[in-house]
Amino acid sequence: MSDKYPLNPNIPPGPVQEKWTSHKFNMKLVNPANKRKHTVIVVGTGLAGASAAASLGELGYNVLSFCIQDSPRRAHSVAAQGGINAAKNYQNDGDSVYRLFYDTVKGGDFRSREANVYRLSEVSTNIIDQCVAQGVPFAREYGGTLANRSFGGAQVSRTFYARGQTGQQLLLGAYGSLMRQVEEGKVKLFPRREMLDLVKIDGVARGIITRNLVSGELEKYAADAVLLCTGGYSTVFYLSTNAVNCNATAAWRCYKKGAYFANPCYTQIHPTCIPRFGETQSKLTLMSESLRNDGRVWVPRRKGDERKPSEIPESERDYYLETKYPAFGNLVPRDIASRNAKEVCDEGRGVGPTGFAVYLDFAEAINRLGKDVIAQRYGNLFAMYHEISGDDPYETPMMIYPAPHYTMGGLWVDYNLMTTIDGLFALGEANFSDHGANRLGASALMQGLADGYFVIPYTLGNYLASAQPKPVTTDAAEFEEAVKNVQTGVEKLMSINGHTTADEIHRELGNIMIDEVGMARSEKGLKKALEEIPKIREKFWKDLRIPGDAKDYNKELEKAGRVADFLELGELMARDALERKESCGGHFRLESQDKDGEAKRDDKNFTHVAAWRFLGEDKVPERCVEPLEYEYVKPSERSYK
């Protein structure tokens, strides 16, 4: 641990159940008349950003809301399918705030902060109330009450959903509230702006520099606090289930300005995605996990077996999940299902044109239940698969392969969601989050909205009331300097004038990342990644080609800036993974497994958050540590056998 830069999580004292309540009382308030004197910048308009901007506008702050899309409604939260968890216990099946807290800490493999997780569980119930009041059309029972389903292997039904479009509906609710504040004049919207730098004055976050993605102009905005709600960094893998414009640039530039980056190696790889088919693919498509309820996962026993699946007799098939995990079978948690798929493919037993896919076979379920029942349950998913792959899953087994999906790592924040830079907050997937080393299904939406609707309105007020930031304008020298730096960066990119496109380099980086910093990591592989990534970076800075003009709508310039940051973030991920010599949650180190090949945590040495501190270009960053304590949920082994 660094003594010079201790990480103080600022967890309030008292029993975990009372921390948030007493903290809310103890925090300072901003007088209503003073709220309008404060300006707050919110970057990103996903669930966290939109809900925060709307809530702060309602309170009376002046909010400047930025997004890279043409409309706030398009942020990637829109794509979440499954649902949102809340400890409502409407089903009378034994759920409670405490159980959701317990499940989340355990699901996170004991690498999250108890106090944060408890608060998340506590406010989860308010989120559902809020969203229903906004007119989010959640699924209902015949009696008119809200419907729930069990999700991701949870033992209680606590997931609320709006068909397969829960993320979209929640986002539209938050977006509606945001647009209402725009109309009221409390929020000013800045679409098609990309944040390229954070401006600090006297060590405190006081503004941002953005690039107008239409005109190419660099713009300065000043405020009393900056909220980063910019999502995760799964697109570092190039192919992921995330939207193609998702990026880590804003977070990364803040890291370089002094915000610590926590647990970058924690990534979630979702097991049921449509496999890649070729080099030109731009994205991987997620299919609901529910498919594993009726589908059986298998590969041929023999390596390089090129027969059609129908020609492979039962005796020559390996239903590896069922054999290895008789208790859970095909329903093992995401990380285990993903890792095993990779294992069999690495053995050369993968199927499909690339050899990186496994079968998900519904033949047995169709025989048992009939085609109609299967069509009723999965009709739309089968149709989607058929459309994308060209194969009919009713006739031939589906092929699936894991894909990067969510990142648990992110900017380090304390209990108040403030980063190590005063005045800079991180919300939603952008912070290192409440999910520890592994996120449970239907918990991402919950966290984004909890942060935006119910946490930041309090903690931001406390910060403003305590810090009393003095007024600043964009005329300050720090803004000028920041613009100049960004300008230099853009010019540097434009002037390379080589032969390789940003996408080509991104793909190259993605291949290394998925191979060596993906589902299974080894010292050897990680060291290889740490050697390879700088080489790719060198190639990038020597041979990149960006056509067109920087003072224009220029997609290639946008991409290049993001790839430049990924080339550094990727290295940090590898470094973090190398240092964490244990297996936990989404982070699996081949060196740390038990005799059955299961993940082995090292609680003695790694019950902590690793937060990285930037020390300068081309310098190895410093690994700082926030120890984690488990007062309520005692660490135990995760076993699914």
Binding site: Y90, V132, R140, G144, A162, S177, I388, P547
Partner: protein, 248 residues
Amino acid sequence: MKVNLRIWRQPGPHAPGRLVDYSIDGIDPSQSFLEMLDALNEKLIKEGKEPVAFESDCREGICGNCGLVINGVAHGPKAACTTCEVRMRQFEDGQTITVEPFRAKAFPMIKDLVVNRSAFDRIMSKGGFVAVNSGSAQDANLQPIHKDDAEHAMDAAACIGCGACVAACPNASASLFVGAKVSQYTWLPQGKVERHGRVLKMVKQMDAEGFGDCSNHAECEAACPKEISVSNISRMRREYTKALLAGV
């Protein structure tokens, strides 16, 4: 496979635009239409030319960012999907494909195939919400909502705001977009309090943005990737009439 493309190129809002011919080989039928354009752009960059500007984000049909008119049809030849969900197997080897932007006065041109759809945001700001502040909600189950009503609301709420309805409409009308949003709240008790003001204000903004009037061609429903029914437009008119009567 190989395709010939005629793509609308326009360097900026005030510059003249024209269709430019391209051809691209080695396309995999499994590739999406946008991945084919990615490949074209990579080729253009290598040749030292400007790539075609177009927009997309989620590439799975939910964000509403992509939107091209392919051979005269918004979001291309396949029903109920967005441009990013169109696969190249929808086309024939050697086919000529014309690609144009969404054309409407209310969607001003930015570059090539990129247009500005902020008009939709401005319409939404007039009433696309229930005015409830964070933290002021009652328990979610206190107000039962009939399952069918919730389903109807969801049918209307499925709109992704892509603008294909406007692009496809012979009059460039935004009635389906506005109708869907107004309709969603008419099905829900939460929407009842502000119902009259909502429909009047949203329609007023729609007209102010310069969208055309509706002629009931229902081409919008046919082009809608979420298959939102024109009966939502009818519902909006009903709601509008009720608002007028309430004002009398």
